[in-house]
Symmetry: C2
Subunit: 342 residues, 2 copies
């Protein structure tokens, strides 16, 4: 029995998720609780014995699906000492999701630099200080692109010319992940997220918040005003496959990634009009009465959104075996199944 425990611990690992109290952090933690291991190559599987969810504000009560292996630790990643305490084991995998988002960064430049640049450097330095070059999965974004020279279709080979401080700091994060990995300090990977839908809860400070709101609020029976034109084309990914993609990226052998460790996650392009039509069909099938959807142009949001790419070539992610949504109807149904009491 003692031997069994020894073996268990010798192949155990800690998972740290920054931004862990956010929707994607919690969804990832739930999935890892369910899965209980990560396949990192050395052994068939490494058992997760501990998951730490770090965030600036943490929940007062344990959320559903989050078991006793999970602990919440409040703390600011811009404080180096805080991060050192979070990254306290060599056998650790870090999912670095914490970030000031797009509209938030436009409103407070210094906060975006503090969290997204200093915070990311602190995470990387703490990981570097551990033995064995820990895996670090960094959440990057479509917002790394923008500007006058941006092509209609972007890919993993397109130059990053962000027009938001958020996107600029995400690009810096990708560069740091690549260089820390090249130096052998960490084994880093960056996942570029398209717009992730359908996020539950309240709207956030992301300019793309409406991509979820246009489904969520009407499904709750609330009216919703869409801030961009109906023909706006948006690259979308459901949260289930987003979280599966984080895990897939953590588990991928490093040589598959090559020297550029930033990968655009798979996505489907839909116009706002198509999103609304799909929503109507799903609502009808589920016997739900939708709130009223109106068009109410918001020049600040529209400018940020129009500055981002509408079409993303994610063929590289496809070759690497990342999961993809089959259709938008299914993604909306997932939200109803997961978050709406029947």
């Amino acid at each position: 029995m003692a031997k069994h425990i020894d073996l268990f611990w010798s192949c155990g690992m800690k998972v740290l998720i920054t931004g862990g109290a956010g929707f994607l952090g919690l969804t990832l933690a739930r999935k890892l609780c369910e899965k209980s291991y990560l396949s990192l190559g050395q052994d068939p599987q490494q058992v997760i014995d501990c998951i730490v969810l770090n965030d600036t504000v943490i929940p007062q009560t344990r959320p559903e699906g989050i078991d006793e292996r999970v602990s919440f630790v409040a703390g600011d990643i811009a404080e180096r000492e805080t991060v050192g305490k979070l990254v306290d084991r060599d056998d650790i995998v870090i999912f670095h999701l914490a970030s000031i988002v797009s509209a938030g960064g436009e409103a407070d430049f210094d906060l975006a630099i503090r969290v997204n640049l200093t915070g990311t450097l602190n995470i990387l330095e703490a990981a570097r200080a551990r033995a064995g070059a820990p895996r670090v999965v960094f959440a990057s974004s479509t917002a790394v692109f923008g500007g006058q020279a941006m092509p209609d279709m972007v890919s993993d080979l397109t130059k990053q010319t962000s027009q938001t401080t958020y996107g600029m700091t995400k690009t810096i994060g990708e560069l740091l992940i690549n260089d820390y990995s090249r130096k052998g300090f960490i084994d880093g990977r960056s996942a570029r997220l398209p717009h992730i839908i359908v996020r539950p809860g309240r709207p956030n400070a992301a300019a793309s918040s409406f991509c979820s709101g246009v489904f969520r609020e009407p499904l709750k029976g609330e009216d919703f005003a869409v801030p961009v034109p109906p023909q706006t084309l948006l690259p979308l990914l459901g949260y289930r496959n987003c979280v599966q993609s984080f895990i897939h990226l953590a588990e991928l052998p490093a040589d598959v990634l090559g020297d550029d460790r930033a990968v655009f996650l798979r996505n489907q392009g839909h116009t706002v009009h198509q999103m609304i039509e799909t929503l109507k069909g799903v609502a009808k099938r589920n016997g739900l009465v939708l709130g009223k959807i109106s068009m109410s142009h918001d020049p600040v949001i529209a400018k940020i959104i129009q500055g981002w790419p509408s079409q993303i070539d994610s063929a590289r992610a496809e070759r690497m075996g990342f999961p993809a949504d089959t259709d938008l109807d299914r993604v909306v149904q997932d939200f109803i199944d997961d978050f709406m009491p029947s």
Copy 2:
């Protein structure tokens, strides 16, 4: 007379050059002493009343061509307080050339982050704290490129995938220059330098140091071992046109640059073999006996150099009116005229 003085001071300006004791910093300072003004748009010309050359080590005696308007200030740009004292006027133009270079950054990662990232942030923050969004010209590099996906010919539209910490931090500098400018904090511009030749003095820690050494040492009658194969193609620019390009970039109206303020300077591609043949012709014409040139492969240098682009499309710089070398012979003759006692 008093009125004349008032007018003089009201349109006067300070120029700060970081890395000012380096070859390009001193050459730029000499050119600005000779020129005495910068044309920044508001007035026909702004008189330079003060040039500060900052560096970690400063010369003991005043170098030739550096007049009494110029002062040397020793100090580390990674110290925020030091930078605040250097950027002490609103009417300032900053040429930010200080950097840990390629092989230096590979040898000491932390020093490269400290000087190239923290130092650059300090410069940008100090400029932001002044009124009127000062112009900041940042020296970037060919080294921003590299890696498996790099195309044979790079341009201002190519994705930066540096394989050195130096190039990675230069890319971050370009991104910060763009975002600080977009926010209206500064009016920044980045000049991407090809290999600048012929640098006088001793070799430095740049992997490209041999691009100057292959001319300089044989011209001094000293033997020189070339660390890369003779067919290696190198994008080159003479130092005279490099310094003229810094000034041209400082003077360009911002709207000419658009939202991506990083410009590859013009360059000519030459192989090491062509460089040596040109050198032989110039030496013969000048009656100089060359030291012996041999081939001595250095795997560390060769790997860095082969990872950088050999061909650079600088058509954008050409459209913007940047100066170009006419031929390599002229560039070598400039070095003889400027630095070799006849």
